[in-house]
């Protein structure tokens, strides 16, 4: 029996993902996501005992670079796309939460 996502669950996920969605959308997405999860349910039931996870397809190790300066961007390039800036810095509206 797969996970049936409730609207509340979707609302919670949307908050985590910083996506503002309406209650109606919440319900719609709940249905669609549940359907997808049901489809991938087969994966959960597979016997993977003793099988290690693959996080990288490659066998690369220790890829390092020398501690040498490289050219950085000009300040106006950095701020070029900024929706709002002030004083050479990116401006954002009031932050409600403290930094985790």
């Amino acid at each position: 029996m797969s996970e049936q996502l409730s609207s509340e669950a979707v609302a919670h996920i949307a908050r985590l993902a910083r996506l503002e969605i309406t209650a109606e959308e919440s319900a719609t997405y709940a249905g669609q996501l549940s359907a997808i999860l049901e489809h991938v349910e087969a994966v959960r039931r597979l016997d993977t005992a003793g099988v290690p996870p693959t996080s990288h397809a490659l066998e690369l190790r220790n890829v390092l670079r020398a501690d040498e300066p490289r050219p950085c961007l000009e300040r106006d390039e950095v701020l070029a796309g900024a929706p709002r800036a002030e004083d050479g810095r990116f401006l954002v509206p009031r932050i409600l939460g403290e930094e985790p």
Binding site: A17, R18, A35, I36, H39, V40, P53, T54, L58, L60
Partner: protein, 496 residues
């Protein structure tokens, strides 16, 4: 390079031919550019392959190349070749939108490594092509700039997510283009548009400058009308890049060298499990291609790889998970769209709600869920283990075979809107391409037949990691054995 509007095109030649002639001073880069821009102008109104053009930069480059040829300097291996770039590849000072509202008008301050390499090789970068938003989709219907139409039948999709690049090549606007492939986004549109599409081994082509979708799966690769042209482009863009930690410490694979090697002694495995899930025309194309290879001296046999079919589910857990993290940066703070609000948290949420399309939102939420506390082990970690199972299945197969043969897609190009109601249905389009990405292997689609409604059918050649040479060798044989008329370029055709 093309000479007519609306009707059948008359190509001047593919990429290798153009380059040879430009290098020899027989053809000017400027005139090649003129031809490409004219073809685009003539037909893009209807097909919408391009999000934006880079005419000025291309013009400057063409002038420079012609000057270099005149001066006896080496203008590069792809001198004068017009190339289109998928609009998720960063181009300095030219818009890179990923076909998303959230990056509307954003111009990167830097070039992707593949862009620098193409430019250094003398290619003319003519424009940025349409895609499914953030490369999430299989039809290019998820684009915020509107869909791209399949030149073979404009009532049908070109495939996705690199639909714009595939269609641009298929329509003869440009001889080659770059796309990106995460679960099949080069190969699938290549098959639906009757062109060659290559996904290299993971790590062979630098991802620096490719807007990330699923980092452990994404690769950039070429579209072309011929296997030879695809090899030439791959050689120009591949090879180690110090800006990408996942880039293999190798030079570009020399695939052009093996194109005339033939198939004698090559061990070819036909993935029989896939055939059962493909439409008759797609399945029979694979059988026919297998016969071509056998006739050329290959040892062909069936191979059962049922584990590969689990790949789809694992992919739709891993890819959205990585995507949910990769797309977090689009928050309205530093670039792109911002929807104002009294506090930053609300600003983020409203910006992303307005900036992302429905499919992107779905995948971001699915990915967030899959990674969230309490679900990580059951979903994400489990999917990573399935990934190992898929890789091991391939490894067993490649113990007996040099390359594998499979359908690229379950069917020919489908009609607009026919799969958009049910996301799951759309996901099935990637059934045969996904396992390759999970394993990090190379694979390519070669146009081989015309199927239902006279639409292109591609055959997929798969190889083990770093098996590009065997792959191209087999692909060249398959291509040579294909009947005429199965591949582009085609004039724009409307539905009957």
């Amino acid at each position: 390079m093309t000479t007519s509007v609306g009707g059948a095109t008359e190509p001047v030649g593919g990429a290798t031919e153009i380059a040879a002639r430009v290098r020899a001073g027989e053809l000017s880069a400027a005139s090649v550019l003129d031809g490409a821009l004219a073809a685009i102008e003539g037909r893009d109104g209807e097909l919408h392959c391009f999000n934006s053009l880079m005419g000025e930069r291309a013009r400057e480059r063409a002038t420079e190349i012609d000057r270099m040829v005149e001066a006896g300097q080496d203008p590069g291996a792809l001198a004068g070749v017009p190339v289109a770039l998928k609009d998720n590849i960063c181009t300095r000072a030219a818009p890179t939108t990923c076909s998303s509202r959230i990056l509307e008008g954003w111009t990167p301050p830097y070039d992707a490594t593949v862009v620098r390499r193409l430019a250094a090789a003398g290619a003319l970068l003519v424009g940025k092509t349409n895609l499914d938003e953030f490369a999430m989709g299989s039809s290019t219907e998820n684009s915020a700039t509107g869909p791209t139409r399949n030149p073979w039948d404009t009532s049908r999709v070109p495939g996705g997510s690199s639909g714009g690049s595939a269609a641009a090549v298929a329509a003869g606007m440009v001889p080659v283009a770059l796309g990106s492939d995460t679960g099949g986004s080069i190969r699938q549109p290549a098959a639906l548009c009757g062109v060659v599409g290559v996904k290299p081994t993971y790590g062979v082509v630098s991802r620096y400058g490719l807007v990330a979708f699923a980092s452990s799966l994404d690769q950039i690769g070429p579209f072309a009308l011929t296997v030879a042209d695809a090899a030439a482009v791959l050689e120009a863009i591949a090879g180690h890049d110090e800006m990408d930690s996942t880039s293999l410490e190798l030079a570009a694979p020399r695939c052009s060298e093996v194109l005339d090697d033939g198939a004698d002694g090559l061990r070819v495995g036909v993935v029989s499990d896939f055939l059962a899930d493909a439409s008759p025309d797609c399945a029979s194309a694979v059988r026919a291609a297998a016969e071509v290879l056998a006739a050329a001296g290959a040892k062909v046999d069936d191979v059962a790889l049922p584990e590969l079919l689990h790949g789809l589910s694992a992919y739709y857990l891993i890819a959205p998970a990585e995507a949910s993290s990769n797309l977090a940066r689009y928050d309205g703070v530093r670039y792109g769209l911002r929807v104002d609000a009294p506090d930053v948290e609300t600003m983020n949420a409203r910006t992303r709600a307005a900036g992302f399309g429905a499919e992107v939102k779905r995948r971001v939420m699915l990915g967030t869920y899959v990674l969230s506390a309490g679900y990580y082990d059951a979903y994400y970690a489990q999917a990573q283990r399935v990934r190992t199972i898929v890789a091991r299945a391939f490894a067993r197969a490649y113990g007996h075979f040099d390359v594998l043969l499979a359908p690229t897609t379950p069917s020919v190009a489908f009609a607009f809107g026919s799969k958009t109601d049910d996301p799951l249905e759309m996901y099935l389009a990637d059934l045969f391409t996904i396992p390759t990405n999970l394993a990090g292997h190379p694979a390519m689609s070669v146009p081989f037949a015309l199927g239902e409604a006279g639409l292109p059918v591609g055959v997929q050649v798969l190889a083990p990691a770093l098996g590009e040479r065997e792959m191209f060798r087999a692909a060249a044989v398959v291509e040579a054995g294909a009947p005429p008329g199965v591949r582009g370029p085609v004039g724009t055709r409307s539905a009957r």
